[in-house]
Amino acid sequence: MVKGVNSVRGRAWRFGANISTDDIISGVYLTELEIKNLAPFVFENLRPEFAQKVQPGDVIVAGENFGMGSSREGAPAILRYLRVGAIVAASFARIFFRNAFNLGIPAIEFPELAKNPDLIREGDVLEINFKDGSLINQSTEKHYKVTKIPPFLLEYLNAGGAIPLLKQKMKSG
């Protein structure tokens, strides 16, 4: 259910607060070079079915401090490989936030989720517009405001990540 670059529509996968990069992918596997070989182990302990069942455009929804811990980029790289449409969380850990945009995955802050986690439930269908910062929960028919993505990070999403963007810029001098 992927839409254009500035919006996404997909089902919610519900996670709690303080999901670490160790939860996303354990350090045990990190000598593996190919992301496709790492992907089956994503969320191995929390949601072992995730890799099998996730569909392109699906949205990860979590509480505070998503992606805390190690700087391992394998974590968001697997989510990109599985074509996760966006990650919505009450807040993000800093390095994860950078890594996500660097790889072209929108990390959307929705602070209200900290207090009201039930605004989005497992399986709800969400439509998110990155540009105007709106989130529609189509399952509950409620509209919310989320933190707008700053224009310079929107550029990352439009280019498909930091490296394609750098290459464009280097080309144009």
Partner: protein, 420 residues
Amino acid sequence: MPNYTMAEKILINHIDAKDVEPGEIVDATIDIAMSHEMMGTRVLPHFDEIGTSKVWDPNRVVMILDHWTPAPTVEAATIHQRVRKFVRDHKIQNFYDVGRGICHQVLVEEGHVRPGEILVGTDSHTTTAGAFGTLATGIGATDMAIVLTTGRLWLRVPDTIRIEITGKLPPKVMGKDIILHILSQLGVDGATFQAIEYHGDALTHISLDAWMTLTNMAVEVGAMTALIPPDQRVKEYIQNRTPQPFTPVYPDKDARYLQKYEFDVTNLAPQVAKPSLPSNAVPVTEVEGTPVDQAILGSCTNGRLEDLRVAAHLMAGKQVADSVRFIVNPASRAIYHSALEEGIIGSLVKAGATIGPATCGACFGGHCGLLASNEVCISTTNRNFPGRMGSPDAKIYLASPATVAASALAGKIADPRNGG
């Protein structure tokens, strides 16, 4: 009157502007870029994709192999091989191969950390260097590929939290206990995207080793970076390790802080962080008696000379409990050597320790002592997330070297203030 924090001042010195505001995005020049095995796994593919195949400044790049060292698998050996090839091809001037030590320690020992500079590393605990007045922060693989190509990186100007640490630590209570206590008060996202500045008279009573423990675990509070204003000890330490000049940066008197905290450590008890968050710290007395299967002394948090010395002192003439595997990984070869000369290694071995190489080892679930299902470990490392050290069903408690040593002797979590 200027009113900047340390982080703001260092950033101003690295951008084309004379002023910064917290929240603003700046494009900063980078002084030192450090990577480890992540270079061989995730950075190189990005670097190759960019395709300029030229490193911006081989003198400013530091490569250190420390995570899977010595290589426990063919895959790890292959990653090391790729890194060595990169080092040769690009004439990287600063390369530290297997056995030299954990990156955050080696960076400091080899004079790559200097006050007032910006250091980025593909490792979240890069914040450690902030003990020397360096704006040091962890980045991912894509960021590193960009830094290697351009020597620049966008950074968000952080708000700064000022943490005043006052008083004098009681005996057998260490820097680790201070940071575990701070974490329990601020939480694992207490400083997300922010800078921490440590101040206070307690700092003058503790070692630089302990300072590094405070800045190391700032990332567990979510901080971008953590800084301590350099004192005379720091200046001497750096001068003895590098001929390069440096200019320490200090905060302005009226610097604007987002928040101020004060912690008096005069009556602080040894702290233990219960599974599975580093912020779950409680006084050791609350978990005393919990049986442990393994005790680990090491890592970039607590594998330094003072840490080994404290443990050896507590263990002298005693024996590790039969039910415990006690594993020690000095944070660097230099520390290993000093500990040998001081007789520390001998005391630890006599007490029943297994001394491993200067490596990250089990800290991140790599090798050298992983945990089986339902096992309990007490460790001087920095993270106790489920699965961090092997089986997701293992339980990890975090504590100071003194508490870990006392617990290894007792076979259960023990208060280092009793006996020893």
